[in-house]
């Protein structure tokens, strides 16, 4: 089935002449048109533009001019990322009239790599307020169960991938917004090292916490998308590998993995299904030859408090003018969250940044003894989407925030299904700019377990 194909399968299909960009695009467009009216992954998609790009890609392939593994591969863009000539809505009334003058750096890189831009994906308003039902665009739904939350804020990215609308999508992550939908929708999602991927042309939520990253159904596809995204890197002091797929087949034998058990067993208590799936993941890594032992980091609360102060202060700086002049144009949830920053002082912000420095040092010290960290992702499976208070409560029950604060790369990988049939997920965290090892471990886990090959059945209209 074309809609579950990975990037490698697509590339091989093109190379063998048994698949074409136009045929793939038409199949995916048909699926989107049939199902997206119920799932709401897209804010905007343009059939004609997608087909034009597909024809262009096909013509180039026929002429023997492939631009690489993403040539002719459809990608969805979270609608907080600029595409020239299109509205960047940020899922908000506030931005309805904002038409981007140029592509964001990551979009330019994707175009140069021959990817087909399918359109703009829904999100939580300004990547903070959702799921909200008081906005002009409905919130995305979880393909594993349409009554459940797909995670956020990159909710449309999660929904589009899990629904088989697209093989690749871009997300952004300030407090877990790539890894949360990856968890809720059973996907692979990477928050890269801070500064590995350019934020230029991406509407900020909190500049020092914001990351742009790849999302896909497999770790290999995440690595292939990262290859292109990292071309925009401003972190010139760290040489990039030739490809982030380099070590995907090496396995984890000999790798030292620190299991941050206290995050979900002491700092907060995860659902037993999550805890059980994490224990099983430890066993998988051990059986593959990795050393896994418990490791201690500062508490989730210490990371969370500093991150919240910084998020509130930076978010307020971005939104103060609009909140003063047109507060009614925000959804209630984002208005309440963004207004917090009005009550945070400059001194609070500086102290939170000082604390951040200390927390980074402590995580870096932990990496003196291990190659990777293993931690919980969400502390429970996705809640119902219509239960807003539960969505708010469960969003804080997670171990994603520490690595927005510290900037370390963090990969979400599916590691089970709940009894209710909803995905569970773990996180692997790497040393700064060591995405190669992180993706290597993620791929080894994925290959040793059945989860990545499971897909939800969509409702038919």
């Amino acid at each position: 089935m074309k809609h579950w194909m990975t990037v490698s399968q697509i590339s091989c299909g093109y190379a063998a002449g048994i698949l074409s960009p136009v045929a793939l695009t038409e199949a995916l467009l048909e699926r989107i048109e049939a199902h997206d009216p119920q799932y709401h992954a897209f804010i905007h998609f343009d059939r004609t533009a997608a087909l034009d790009q597909a024809m262009h890609a096909e013509k180039a392939l026929r002429a023997g001019r492939s631009l690489g593994p993403l040539h002719g591969v459809p990608v969805g863009i979270k609608d907080i990322i600029d595409m020239a000539g299109q509205t960047t809505s940020c899922h908000s009334v506030v931005m309805r009239a904002h038409i981007a003058r140029e592509d964001a750096c990551v979009v330019s890189a994707l175009r140069a790599a021959g990817a087909i831009m399918f359109g703009k994906l829904s999100l939580h308003e300004f990547a903070i307020g959702g799921p909200s039902f008081d906005l002009p665009f409905p919130p995305a739904r979880n393909p594993w169960n349409i009554n459940h939350h797909p995670g956020g804020s990159s909710s449309g990215s999660g929904t589009a991938l899990a629904a088989g609308f697209l093989p690749l999508a871009l997300g952004t992550d300030t407090g877990g917004s790539i890894r949360h939908p990856a968890a809720a929708c059973g996907l692979a999602g990477l928050k890269p090292t801070y500064d590995l991927v350019s934020r230029r042309g991406v509407y900020p939520l909190a500049m020092s916490l914001d990351h742009v990253g790849p999302m896909a159904r497999t770790v290999e596809d995440v690595a292939l998308l990262l290859d292109v995204m990292a071309r925009t890197s401003s972190a010139v002091t760290h040489p990039r590998p030739l490809s982030y797929t380099r070590d995907l087949k090496l396995g984890v034998k000999g790798l030292r993995i620190g299991f941050v058990r206290h995050f979900h067993e002491q700092d907060d208590i995860a659902d037993p299904e999550v805890t059980h799936a994490l224990e099983q993941a430890c066993e998988v890594f051990r059986s593959l030859g990795a050393e896994v032992h418990d490791i201690h980091l500062p508490s989730l609360q210490a990371f969370g408090a500093a991150q919240k102060v910084i998020l509130m202060a930076e978010g307020w700086a971005v939104h103060a003018r609009n909140l003063r002049e047109r507060p009614e144009d925000y959804a209630q949830m984002s208005r309440r969250k963004l207004l917090c920053g009005a009550f945070i002082g400059g001194g609070d912000y500086v102290q939170a940044m000082q604390s951040r420095g200390e927390l980074i040092d402590k995580v870096n010290q932990a990496f003196g003894d291990v190659d990777l960290l293993l931690a919980a992702n969400s502390f429970e499976a996705a809640c119902r989407i219509d239960d807003v208070s539960e969505a708010v409560r469960t969003y804080t029950r997670q171990a994603r925030v520490p690595f927005n604060l510290t900037g370390h790369p963090a990969l979400a990988v599916m590691n089970g299904l709940s009894q209710a049939g909803l995905p569970l997920s773990l996180q692997l965290i790497g040393k700064n700019f060591d995405e190669v090892t992180l993706l290597r471990a993620g791929a080894a886990f994925e290959q040793a377990t059945p989860w990545h090959s499971m897909h939800p059945e969509l409702l038919t209209t």
Binding site: E325, Q354, S355
Partner: protein, 88 residues
């Protein structure tokens, strides 16, 4: 004073204490509300205050809670991360 009257007086005293505590809490809440309104005006949020007073109260209380849960670094002279860099 009879035992009965003493008991009655002590009951009245407790009732007064409860009433005072309630009034004190109400005063505190009213003062907190005034403080939030003042801070909101100082932040230029008159329009939000007029149209969404509940949202402002919730936001202010959330911020207060976060500030209270945040433990500042023991070294208040430490340079923040990321440090200042000159621009070329």
């Amino acid at each position: 004073m009879s035992e009965q009257s003493s008991f009655k007086n002590s009951k009245t005293h407790v009732a007064h204490q409860n009433q005072n505590a309630k009034e004190s809490l109400a005063d505190q809440a009213a003062q907190e509300l005034l403080d939030i309104q003042t801070l909101a005006r100082m932040a230029g949020l008159e329009r939000a205050l007029e149209r969404f007073p509940d949202d402002l109260q919730i936001a202010a209380r959330t911020a207060l809670k976060v500030r209270a849960s945040f433990k500042a670094s023991s070294d208040n002279t430490a340079e923040v991360w990321p440090v200042m860099r000159v621009k070329s």
